[in-house]
């Protein structure tokens, strides 16, 4: 298969690498010449091209850029897409990109995908082997895609060792807010809080045990990835942020009033996560 991957960061770079190792011919495109060079030097791709040139003769076009750029890019790609070509994106929000494709004559060549995988690092330097294996991919609004395009996307994720599930874009965005996006905000907020409190004594962090490191890990994530996700998923994020603030308030109230009972109840309820994860 001939593949074009547009965006050679953690997500696109890791996928390009995996596909290349499977024997596919992988061309990369990246708005940053430096990133493109790093990707080529690391062997993530066979070669570099512009998106336009890279599309020529490609069987699969993978859009792996930040979600705001993906929404801007997709219509132009669909304008140029040829018979038999499949276009997928890998973004963490799906309603906006599905809306960007809506009504386009080539809409059915596009499959909206979200492989639920990542790390706190970004850029082609962060591309890693095995990022996708064992994880889930969500495919959205599958009935809007041609059966053969859908099958191409499904096969791709299968060869990466992933399981595919199907949601509509709106439901995806809601659940993504709850099981992914709010974790990032929580972690960013924790980092801000603790950096503020310890601004004069940063050595203290060397004392921190694994718990702090784990909870604050996502706070290393890049703004160019997450700002557009937060903006596109505004509705559900505002909702879940209010819920999170309310839970913190319950803890505050229980601590303030020295209530063993309330603290026990809150923690025991939170412990339910053990049954699920």
């Amino acid at each position: 298969m001939k593949v074009l991957v547009i965006g050679l960061g953690l997500i696109g770079g890791s996928m390009a690498w995996e596909l290349r190792k499977q024997g596919h011919s992988v061309t990369g495109a990246d708005a940053s010449a430096k990133n493109a060079e790093t990707a080529r030097n690391r062997g993530l791709v066979d070669g570099i091209a512009t998106p336009e040139a890279g599309m020529q003769g490609a069987d699969l076009i993978v859009i792996a850029v930040p979600v705001d750029a993906a929404v801007r890019l997709l219509p132009g790609i669909l304008d140029r897409v040829e018979e038999g070509q499949t276009v997928i994106d890998l973004g963490s929000t799906k309603a906006a990109i599905v809306a960007a494709a809506e009504g386009h004559p080539a809409r059915a060549r596009f499959v909206a995908c979200h492989p639920m995988a990542g790390t706190e690092f970004s850029g082609p330097e962060a591309a890693v082997e095995g990022l996708y294996a064992g994880r889930f991919t969500v495919i959205c609004n599958k009935d809007e895609s041609d059966p053969d395009a859908l099958a191409t996307a499904e096969r791709l994720f299968e060869t990466l060792g992933m399981k595919t599930v199907y949601y509509n874009a709106e439901a995806h965005d809601m659940h993504a807010a709850f099981v992914s996006h709010i974790s990032h905000i929580t972690s960013f907020a924790l980092a801000l809080t603790v950096l503020d409190k310890e601004k004069n004594e940063k050595d203290i962090f060397s004392l921190a045990a694994g718990g702090f490191t784990s909870t604050v890990r996502l706070a290393k994530s890049a703004p160019h990835t997450w700002v557009p996700i937060f903006k596109q998923n505004k509705k559900y994020l505002l909702d879940v942020l209010d819920a999170q603030t309310e839970k913190l308030r319950l803890f505050r109230e229980a601590i303030e009033s020295d209530s063993d009972t309330d603290l026990h109840a809150l923690i025991e309820e939170a412990n339910e996560i053990k049954r699920i994860l």
Copy 2:
């Protein structure tokens, strides 16, 4: 060395095991007969005794029970302590236990310690090898301990592969609130939020990537450990909870007003944690 470890959970059980493997004779005591039996069956200790009987002839007495129980237990242990014996505790808060020892005729045989290590699991089943190696121990109010008792504690942590730092109990509790305790509350609150939001669709959690798992990991921690810690560290926790709530509010405001600039600034500031961790 003859050691008595009181409390054979994650913290005490892991330390007992390590000391036993180093060739020390380790007796365990636990208020739960079941935990004591599990600890003996797992080989964490050489034998089981009551705290009173276990103290006979011990060189070192290690208190590794929840911080409320430690505060209740310490004065009675100091009442019975003999010449040359050293008593340490391993609790996550230090002001209350230092206050509990204050003015006791045997105060100087006690060394207040906090090895900054742990996992989200508890009980003797959770005891693991290598929990302490490479981590820091905080020893508090060291001038209130006899030099030989302090040296015994320092040697202990050194043989476990730990580095020791020194704080007064008040400063310890403040920093512990910032680099450990607030992480636990944040994680508990995140679990509560997400369990609430997804209460009718728990399958969704199988989709979650590593980010959610990492951020919510501490939410598995046991209430009997954490309720007393939160209560003892009330003052600093209320303060840091207010700060955390304010940071969430800033995110909410930036998302609400679609402010790229503010979101970028918040995330970039949070990214500072990269330089530190």
